[in-house]
């Protein structure tokens, strides 16, 4: 199923993300996904996230699909040129994978192979354009495809709490112009900023899913504040996590905070995207508390 159909039906669309392991044994990951994520609309599979080499997104998507889940194939432009990207898009179509999330990708220097060549032959916008081209039956080189062209739901990302939100909005507009049909956001901890962002973003008329990362610990929050672009965890939230160490460790406080952010932002967006980072088991409780 295409995620865009759920938006069209007016559903508040819930997705969550899984990261493939560094290895090819995914029984545990599949088991967790089946247990905790089978009630939601779709499951994103990250593409060598943070430039750390792992099992491929496409293969993992296929495995999830075989288990009856709806995968979203994340694709970055860091590791493949346009030939490989287009080819993988056709492979996805062969496997019946219908949902895409198209990103530029982190630089190779940030990951575990800093010596690798960063490709960036395309970027998020030109990749969306490439998908549209394929959908019209022609590849980026201008050559015709054989047979029925593929058809995908084309997603993209945006960073609503970025310190340069206007620059991000300009990029979002370019993504929409190129053919993006829905958006998932970077993690949000500041509902006011998100709401202000949505005021401006709604002119583009595309559904936006609020990005959520469950805060696991004070250390994690501090790390994100210092190192992760577009994320800022306010000091009050960090204090909340500090207050009861046991409760924080058990994930209770983190889930409470995340649920509160969702409740505050829900009237302004069309869905939520949860990046659980290993805490997939907390997703059902989070959704319950958020009233979804």
């Amino acid at each position: 199923m295409k995620i865009t159909e759920a938006f069209e039906r007016g559903e508040f669309v819930v997705t969550a993300e899984v990261g493939p392991p560094k290895g090819f044994h995914i029984e545990h990951m599949l088991e967790e996904a089946k247990t905790y994520l089978s009630g939601i609309t779709a499951v994103n599979v990250t593409d060598n996230q943070s430039s750390v080499m792992r099992l491929g997104s496409l293969a993992t998507c296929k495995a999830l699909k075989d288990e009856g889940l709806t995968p979203i194939f994340q694709m970055t432009c860091r590791d493949r040129n346009r030939i490989a990207l287009e080819s993988d898009l056709l492979s996805a179509a062969l496997f019946g994978i219908e949902n895409l999330l198209l990103l530029t990708g982190d630089h190779t220097k940030l990951g575990d192979h800093p010596q690798a060549k960063p490709v960036f032959d395309l970027d998020s916008v030109s990749l969306i354009h490439a998908v549209k081209q394929l959908e019209s039956g022609v590849d980026l080189g201008g050559n015709e495809l054989v047979g029925e062209p593929p058809k995908f739901a084309k997603g993209a990302v945006v960073s609503p709490c970025s310190d340069s939100v206007d620059v991000q909005l300009a990029k979002m507009e370019r993504k929409v112009a190129a053919g993006a049909e829905y958006f998932q956001t970077q993690a949000v901890y500041e509902p006011e900023k998100f709401i202000q962002f949505m005021e401006k973003a709604k002119q583009f008329g595309k559904p936006v899913q609020l990005g959520i990362v469950i805060p696991k610990s004070v250390g994690m929050c501090r790390y994100m504040n210092e190192n992760v672009a577009g994320i800022h965890v306010p000091e009050e939230m960090i204090e909340e996590l500090k207050a009861d160490k046991e409760k924080t460790k058990a994930g209770i406080t983190g889930v409470e905070i995340a649920a509160r952010v969702i409740r505050e932002c829900k009237p302004y967006c069309q869905g939520v995207h949860i990046m659980a980072m290993g805490w997939e088991s907390k997703v059902p409780e989070l959704l319950r508390q958020a009233g979804i």
């Binding site: 990103l103 630089h107 960036f120 916008v125 310190d163 300009a170 370019r174 112009a177």
Partner: protein, 207 residues
């Protein structure tokens, strides 16, 4: 070595047509092959339509010290122009654009690499000789060299506190581009069609 080649007429007219322009020609350094005749012809054409407020022809416009003095002399002519058209390699355009920070500065040429010895110009700005100069879409700041991923369609999600995700000492190139476009009132350029890079350009030149 590098080659600068005039952009096609349509592009040039869309930049300069109907506007008052000041023209800067750089006859450059030995490393650059400059399209002298075509440039002279373009200038004549623009002059005939009465829209050139003034011009200078010089060398090493990439030397900011020299350039400052020369631009001072033509302050009034530049002041009355709507835009400045620069016929030089990408480095030259960037030097001028930084100096004339609130004036639209347009590149009239594309810069291509030419196999052989790479010139040793004192470079404050960088040009990678990408062959399809983007400076006219990016406020005179080169997205190929000022952005760590050489992105041509806008900022990635990696900028933090205005700095690039790859290097916390380096200002994000797309922050600079956005600021500059806002300054010259050309944020509309961000709505240009999707740019897809062409890595086949040096072959085209050889043809």
């Amino acid at each position: 070595m590098l080659i600068t080649r005039l952009k096609d007429k349509e592009t040039l007219l869309s930049l300069a047509g109907g506007k008052k322009v000041f023209i800067i020609n750089c006859h450059g350094c030995r490393e650059v092959y400059f399209p002298l005749e075509e440039a002279a012809e373009l200038q004549k054409e623009l002059e005939a339509s009465g829209s050139v407020t003034g011009s200078i022809t010089t060398d090493y416009i990439c030397n900011p010290e020299n350039m400052k003095l020369r631009l001072e002399k033509h302050k009034d002519e530049i002041g009355t122009a709507d835009a400045v058209l620069v016929l030089s390699c990408g480095v030259g355009v960037q030097t001028i654009s930084e100096y004339l920070e609130d004036k639209p500065v347009y590149a009239a040429c594309d810069t291509y690499p030419q196999p052989g010895f790479q010139g040793v110009t004192p470079l404050q700005y960088d040009c990678d000789q990408c062959g399809e100069c983007y400076l006219n879409l990016t406020g005179g700041i080169c997205p190929i060299t000022a952005c760590s991923k050489s992105l041509v369609n806008g900022q990635c999600g990696g900028s933090k506190n205005g700095k690039c995700e790859v290097d916390s000492e380096m200002e994000c190139g797309w922050e600079r581009i956005y600021r500059r476009l806002a300054q010259i009132g050309r944020l509309d350029l961000l709505k240009c069609p999707t740019q897809v890079r062409n890595f086949a350009t040096d072959k085209e030149v050889a043809e």
